[in-house]
């Protein structure tokens, strides 16, 4: 954890680490629930959704863990989001979206599962929920298929090259509300997503196998966009200093957009009042 105004070689204000935290050295998402003052992290290898106190530090264990055969999580679980208004945790898990009670603890079953052929879900990894507009948006981290290509190593419908929107309360074999995908979107694959004020903010880190891919950006779409929609804003280019943006979060109080760049091992903060 770093102070908002930290720069360059600033020391972290606190660290949560060690065996008792049950964290893996590999983590792919983190969310802060300001309403309940909690931190949420997934342990991908142990298929666990873990909740820590907001002020946790040191080798402090989580206050709650969702893990076990009843959770219906299979294989790796990378990312998640929390809806503090409706008290839910949402987890994308390959071809399904699992929804748990926020206060769930132990081997608990999901309260809703979005899954089935009509969902067009296929290897989705990222998710964001908008409790105001009742929208869920998901995407995958695998590259998009070439035009006309289906299956194989690329993506079919519902893959990394697309943002798929569902009604927040969707359940079962639900059809998406819409899909944002196509060449104008310039999406190759998506990592972390946020929704704020009806804007979808998504990192686009480029091709996985390239260390410094060209054309990386943080894209902004409207929740009402559909089809081959160009991003409303595209934060990218040499001045941004981004090389491979994977994480994004907003700080509305200071009108800031914060990016985690994995190639630089750096956190970059941008002033972006247009979004707020």
């Amino acid at each position: 954890m770093f102070a908002r105004l930290a720069t360059e070689n600033a020391q972290p204000t606190r660290v949560i680490a060690g065996q008792r935290t049950l964290l893996a050295r590999t983590m792919h998402d983190i969310r802060y629930d300001a309403v309940n003052d909690e931190i949420l992290v997934a342990n991908p290898f142990a298929q666990a959704i873990m909740t820590f106190r907001g002020g946790a530090q040191g080798e402090e264990p989580p206050v709650r863990i969702i893990q076990g055969p009843s959770t219906e999580i299979f294989a790796q679980v990378d990312r998640l989001d929390v809806d503090p208004v409706h008290d839910e945790i949402l987890v994308p898990n390959h071809d399904q979206i699992l929804v748990y009670r926020r206060t769930g603890n132990g081997d608990v079953a999901p309260i809703r599962v979005i899954k089935g052929p009509d969902t067009q879900l296929d290897d989705v990894e990222s998710i964001a929920v908008d409790p105001v507009n009742d929208i869920i948006v998901v995407a995958g981290a695998r590259p998009a298929a070439a035009p006309g290509q289906t299956g194989g190593g690329g993506q079919t419908e519902g893959g990394g090259g697309e943002l798929i929107l569902f009604r927040r309360t969707a359940n079962g074999n639900a059809k998406p509300l819409g899909i944002i995908g196509g060449p104008k979107t310039e999406i190759v694959r998506i990592n972390q997503i946020q929704i704020h004020n009806g804007w979808i903010i998504a990192t686009q880190p480029g091709k996985y196998e390239e260390q410094e891919p060209e054309g990386v950006f943080v894209g902004v779409w409207s929740i009402h966009d559909r089809g081959d929609a160009a991003p409303r804003w595209k934060l990218g280019g040499p001045n941004t200093a981004m090389k491979k943006p994977r994480g994004v979060v907003l700080n509305p109080a200071h009108q800031e957009l914060i990016v985690a760049d994995m190639r630089l091992n750096t956190i970059l903060t941008y002033y972006f009042p247009e979004l707020f």
Binding site: T7, G18, E59, W199, V220, N265
Partner: protein, 446 residues
């Protein structure tokens, strides 16, 4: 504390309910073309029903503010005013008509110094090789290098790094004892094990590369059998290749399966004298054959060196007495019958007998404020010079001890790559970020 949280939650819900009951009914559909300029209001569509229009934190919910309207500014925030100016200029005129925004960041959090994840020594050339997982490269120093306390840091005698090297999240090293070839393992992103000649420097292409499994962490070599062993964190495996393997070569055998007790496998060490293979495990686990994941205590699992398939361990070192806490790289000193463990999260080096099993206490523990240890993840035992080399991810340094050091032992030498006392940020492969609006903190997972 719990009561406070509930109270806070109630306040929030009341605010939400008030917003809902206000019943903002929208009568005009926003045009898509207006959204780019319009913001939130332009996003709403009429439903004829009350809508939740915003979720905002109440002023009194900010820790330390309790309704006060003045923002606390730390004394260290001298750059705040400059940042404000930068914000103003950064927001103007840098967005094209189609929304492309090439805007400079107002702040960067980054560690400008190397962060050492692994270490090895070429006892033929008397050189120390340090794996820099922060700036992605290998730094080479004289074996006897020792940074004076007055120096900001030591300059390496040569540096290997750059886009052509394919070094990225490079986490393990091996030096061929005969020809000095340098083997480097990348962990999570490039999926390559790369090999360089002894004196490689700068941004050069590897002379050989092997497409390694995703999340490869550790490396060990059986020079007699000419076999290379790599650990894979998850799904946990030990993959064994011919030493000269390259390209898309397949492993000659794989150790994997539920009976192996491999669980988030990390370090690997071989005892070719006794025919043993040691693996350190963090304990996060799941299996495609079992529903639901689980956590196990950290462990060192021991196998026959030729083990393959779903072979159970010969024995396991695990339990409270072991003090294992995120065990990283390990090293077997077959000459003295000892197993050394870089015990990352406990800031310690543990030494076990190579024959230990169960809840065994280490025979020696290097730990304490004098040691200079900080998140040690790599180590190398130099039996020729009777020394122990440790790479510390937490403080940009390598520390050297007598091989038999114990307790709060001062290092014989320290290679320091940052000013004294500068702790590393250890931001490694950040895939996400969060913002704690109560404490005004940025949260970064590794």
């Amino acid at each position: 504390m719990r009561r406070d949280r509930r109270s806070t939650g109630r306040s929030f819900l009341i605010a939400v309910l008030l917003a809902v009951s206000a019943g903002i009914l929208l009568t005009e559909q926003a045009k898509q073309g207006d959204m780019a300029a319009g913001g939130a209001a332009a996003q709403r569509k009429p439903t004829g029903q009350p809508q939740l229009v915003s979720v905002e934190q109440m002023p009194g919910m900010t820790l330390g503010m309790d309704g006060a309207m003045c923002e606390w500014v730390p004394a260290s925030a001298s750059g705040n005013l400059l940042a404000s100016f930068a914000q103003e200029s950064g927001a103007a005129g840098d967005t094209t008509r189609d929304g492309f925004t090439d805007r400079a960041p107002v702040r960067l959090i980054r560690d400008n110094y190397p962060t050492y994840s692994a270490i090895t020594v070429d006892t033929n050339t008397n050189e120390v090789f340090l794996q820099d997982e922060n700036l992605f490269g290998v730094k080479v120093f004289d074996r006897l290098a020792n940074t004076p306390p007055s120096a900001a840091f030591s300059e390496p005698k040569r540096v290997l790094g750059g886009i052509d090297t394919k070094l990225e999240f490079n986490c393990a090293l091996y030096i061929d004892p005969v020809n000095g070839d340098l083997y480097s393992v990348n962990n999570d992103t490039v999926d390559r094990m790369v090999v360089f000649p002894r004196n490689a420097r700068g941004n050069v292409k590897p002379m050989r590369e092997l497409h390694s499994p995703h999340r490869t962490y550790g490396i060990a070599m059986d020079e007699t059998a000419q076999e290379m062993f790599l650990t894979v964190q998850h799904p946990p495996q030990v993959v064994v290749y011919h030493k000269e393997a390259s390209g898309e070569d397949e492993p000659i055998r794989v150790l994997e399966g539920d009976r192996t007790k491999l669980e988030d496998a990390h370090g690997i060490a071989l005892d070719t004298k006794n025919g043993w293979m040691f693996i350190s495990n963090h304990g996060s686990s799941s299996s495609p054959r079992i529903k639901g994941g689980w956590f196990s205590p950290p462990s060192i699992s021991v196998y026959p060196i030729k083990a393959s398939g779903d072979t159970p361990p010969l024995r396991i070192i695990s339990g409270e007495k072991t003090q294992l806490n995120w065990p990283g790289h390990i090293f077997v000193d077959a000459e003295h019958g000892e197993l050394f463990v870089a015990n990352d999260a406990e800031n310690s080096i543990l030494v076990f007998r190579a024959t230990d099993q169960g809840d065994a206490a280490p025979t020696r523990v290097i730990q304490g404020p004098t040691t200079g240890l900080s998140n040690p993840t790599g180590l190398f035992v130099d039996t020729k010079n009777d020394e122990l080399f440790v790479s510390n991810m937490g403080n940009h340094s390598a520390t050297v001890y007598r091989r038999a050091a114990n307790g709060d032992a001062a290092p014989l030498r320290t290679i320091r790559s940052a000013p004294v006392g500068k702790q590393a940020q250890i931001i490694g492969n950040p895939g996400a970020v969060a913002y704690d609006s109560r404490r005004e903190e940025i949260l970064v997972p590794n």
